[in-house]
């Protein structure tokens, strides 16, 4: 036992035989964790699909009240952040410390930008009385002309009162899904902050990229969730 000890790099945990094994195991564990995340969001997606098929008109008109500009921008922001993080992983692999720190900081900022934009959108829903349970009114679905900016663009027909109520269902799912997604972003950003500090100290540019790499998996996964949320929630039917 002892005679091999000196070969072990400091970051190798005692119960692994080799760094390769350690990397393999943690990488695999991360993938498994992402599977649980897939199933976690899977429940929401199932609920969404059923409700959308039942209450299609309500979903269409409710989704018109989301800002396509912010939604698309946010998609771009998130994709870019995924890109910067991927570059960060590359920097770590090729042992470029300042490059790594730069990429991580950029990712961090883009993550915050995403959350800010999400905040702006949520605030808009709050102002428009579209927060189910807390502050909700279906007036501008019964009478779309109440919201001239959207009416001008889509000429939405008035929903019947029964169907208008179902827009609340849409917004419930909207908040549940984007909220759950944002929660994952928040967790990711916190971890990212920690990683930046460690990267600054040079922890990941000495050949030990496992942590950055695995965090990258998580971040890209959160990105993928958004890639699906975006068309499902924003693009139901933008034509008139």
């Amino acid at each position: 036992m002892a005679e091999v000890q000196h070969q072990h790099p400091p970051y190798q945990r005692h119960h692994f035989e080799s760094v390769a094994q350690q990397f393999d195991a943690t990488n695999f564990a991360m993938w498994l964790f992402l599977l649980t995340e897939v199933m976690f969001f899977g429940g929401l997606f199932t609920a969404y699909l059923i409700m959308r098929n039942w209450y299609y008109p309500a979903f269409v008109e409710a989704s018109h009240h989301l800002s396509i500009f912010w939604g698309t921008t946010n998609t771009a922001v998130l994709i870019t952040s995924s890109f910067t993080l991927a570059m960060g992983v590359w920097c770590a692999e090729t042992r470029r410390k300042s490059g790594l720190v730069l990429c991580l900081v950029l990712t961090f900022i883009l993550g915050l930008v995403f959350l800010c934009i999400k905040g702006i959108e949520w605030h808009a829903e709050w102002v428009d009385h579209h927060v189910p349970g807390l502050r909700f009114s279906d007036a501008d679905f019964i009478n779309p002309a109440l919201d001239p900016s959207i009416y001008k663009e889509y000429h939405d027909r008035p929903l019947s009162p029964g169907m208008a109520l179902k827009t609340e269902e849409y917004f419930f799912l909207y908040f549940a899904m984007t909220g759950m997604h944002a929660l994952h972003m928040v967790v990711g950003i916190c971890i990212l902050g920690f990683i930046i500090c460690r990267a600054w100290a040079g922890a990941y540019t000495s050949g030990h990229v496992t942590f950055v790499e695995n965090f990258g998996l998580y971040w890209h996964f959160v990105d993928i969730i958004w890639i699906f949320l975006y068309p499902l929630l924003y693009l139901i039917s933008r034509h008139t």
């Binding site: 036992m1 119960h15 564990a29 899977g42 059923i50 409700m51 269902e169």
Partner: protein, 554 residues
């Protein structure tokens, strides 16, 4: 019963428990609370789940006492409802789901695959803390008045109609779910990545295969339960929802999502137990398991097919008749691998050299009771009979046969089997054999009458029932008393044996698993040197040669 035994203890006059082992290596509370050692975490788990088992058991006692008489006289209906709900929640989420995997599995899987520890020790510890947190929230729920949704949280009852502590109960289950996800994740990674040299997939003990299959279910099924509970909690707090039809939701969607987890969960609850049975039967008949590959693959088959049958809990709830048809067919398919296992175990005995130590008695009990429990699952899986039997005591009897008669028996078998390894001491054989027989008798007396009650139509979750059902209920209550004694005994004598049990030595059963080739209790990193697996699992000839070599070298 024959007096023959395979127990092979070291000379009691010279035997000592090894000074250096995982229990003694460090001392103090903190060394336990911050440990990364899978064996210590398993020990923590063992203590905590035993605690919750007895809480759940006490609640079961209350249920049975209340049902002694037809009127709801011991407690009011709403109290009764809380009691059975807490009983179900605690027994399932805080006892049976973590029972074999988190204790025995945690303890032996790394040793079985020849690793120093699980792949992610910190995650393992986190899983225990989550479990404790879940237990704490559950106890809190009980303290502030309990919850009466039934363990199934049926919407819209749970989301809008009850004013008990649904949220904290849901939270407890949510947290417990993540604890079990982390256990499962850890197992999968360990089994894939931490096997020692020579340990190919088909040299793994069947216990590892069974836990591997159960872990798949934990990792992929549990998150769905988590999100379902989140939605329930959201619905309750902001009164809007996807489940309550009054708001445009669909209660059947809740059922789909809930059972998507909870059906696989019943296999989470049985597969690890089946793994224990494979080990025990092989060891005590000194024979390799008959048809190793079939048994191994049937575990995986159960895990895979287990995902496709959930709607058999909803046959009369208004799902489409055609969907019922498909789910019923798949239910029949998922039952077959279990049958394969039972027969393979039976034939493992063939031309063996069988002894009847306590683990073996429990294992034999398992075979009988699980067959009954499983076959009554077929009654429920056949759509026609399910109409009559669903939501009656027939279902209650079915799941207690598989869960208590199956998994709990397997758990006890496993605890007795690995107790010498765990503590370095033997449990007292005679009294534990007696306890095994007592549980067996008590169990049948408790739950067999419930099949008849169910056929007669007595609904489950009833605080009061028509007097014509009383006689059978009295039998059932009487049996529960016997059963309670049967479960109390092991706690007493196992505790006793911690101090006074005979020294076990490293391999009292002369079993073949790698965990038996190291000292008991094992060292912190299990082996002094990473073993090299050069033989099949259950290779008793290899073991004999090995022992002959040792004797020669002494």
């Amino acid at each position: 019963m024959s007096s023959a035994t395979i127990v092979n203890l070291p000379d009691p006059s010279t035997a000592r428990i090894p000074k250096m082992n995982f229990l003694t290596r460090e001392n103090g509370l903190l060394s336990w609370l911050l440990t990364g050692d899978h064996k210590r975490i398993a020990t923590l788990y063992l203590i905590s789940i035993t605690f919750f088992f007895f809480i759940g058991g006490a609640l079961a006692g209350l249920i049975r006492l209340e049902l002694l008489t037809p009127q709801s006289d011991l407690m009011a209906a709403d109290t009764y409802n809380k009691v059975f709900t807490m009983h179900g929640l605690i027994m399932i989420f805080l006892f049976l789901v973590p029972s074999v995997p988190a204790t025995i599995g945690n303890f032996v899987i790394p040793m079985m695959v020849g690793a120093k520890d699980l792949a992610l020790p910190k995650i393992n510890l986190l899983s225990w803390y989550l479990y404790i947190l879940a237990g704490g929230v559950m106890i809190y729920t009980m303290m502030v008045g309990g919850v009466d949704t039934g363990w199934t949280f049926t919407a819209p009852l749970s989301t809008h109609y009850l004013n008990t502590n649904v949220i904290s109960a849901g939270l407890a289950v949510f947290i417990a779910g993540f604890s079990s996800i982390f256990t499962g994740l850890n197992f999968i990674v360990t089994i894939h990545k931490m096997r020692c040299p020579g340990m190919t997939w088909f040299r793994l003990p069947l216990f590892v295969w069974a836990n591997y299959a159960a872990s798949i279910l934990m990792v992929l099924g549990t998150p769905v339960l988590a999100i379902t509970l989140v939605l329930v909690i959201l619905e309750r707090t902001i009164h809007i929802g996807v489940f309550d039809p009054a708001y445009g939701g669909d209660p059947l969607l809740f059922q789909h999502l809930f059972w998507f987890y909870s059906h696989p969960a019943v296999y989470i609850m049985i597969l690890p137990g089946m793994g224990v049975i494979s080990e025990v039967i092989s060891t005590f008949s000194r024979k390799r398991v008959f048809g190793y590959t079939a048994v191994a693959f049937s575990s995986v088959a159960i895990a895979v097919f287990g995902f496709f049958v959930w709607a058999h809990h909803m046959f009369i709830m208004g799902i489409s008749n055609y969907a019922a048809l498909v789910f019923s067919l798949l239910t029949m398919l998922v039952a077959v691998p279990s049958a394969i296992k039972i027969f393979n175990w039976a034939f493992t005995l063939y031309k063996g050299s069988i002894t009847f130590e306590t683990p073996m008695l429990y294992a034999i009990g398992f075979m009988g009771l699980f067959t009954i429990g499983g076959m009554t699952g077929i009654f429920l899986g056949a759509t026609g009979t399910d109409i009559h039997l669903t939501e009656t005591y027939f279902v209650v009897a079915h799941f207690h046969f598989v869960m208590v008669g199956g998994m709990l028996m397997a758990f006890l078998a496993g605890i007795h089997f690995w107790w010498p390894k765990w503590t370095g001491r033997m449990y007292p054989e005679k009294i534990s054999q007696f306890a095994a027989v007592v549980t067996y008798i008590g169990f049948n007396l408790t739950f067999f009458p419930q099949f008849i009650l169910g056929m007669l139509g007595m609904p489950r979750r009833y605080a009061a029932y028509p007097p014509q059902f009383q006689v059978l209920n009295v039998f059932s209550t009487a049996g529960a008393t016997v059963l309670g004694v049967g479960y109390l005994l092991p706690v007493l004598y196992l505790t006793w044996s911690l101090r006074y049990g005979a020294i076990a030595g490293s391999n009292p059963w002369q079993a073949t698993g790698l965990e038996w080739q190291t000292q008991s209790p094992p060292l912190t990193e299990n082996f002094t040197e990473i073993p090299i697996m050069d033989h099949e699992a259950y290779d008793y000839e290899w073991l004999e040669r090995q022992q002959a070599k040792e004797v020669a070298s002494v």
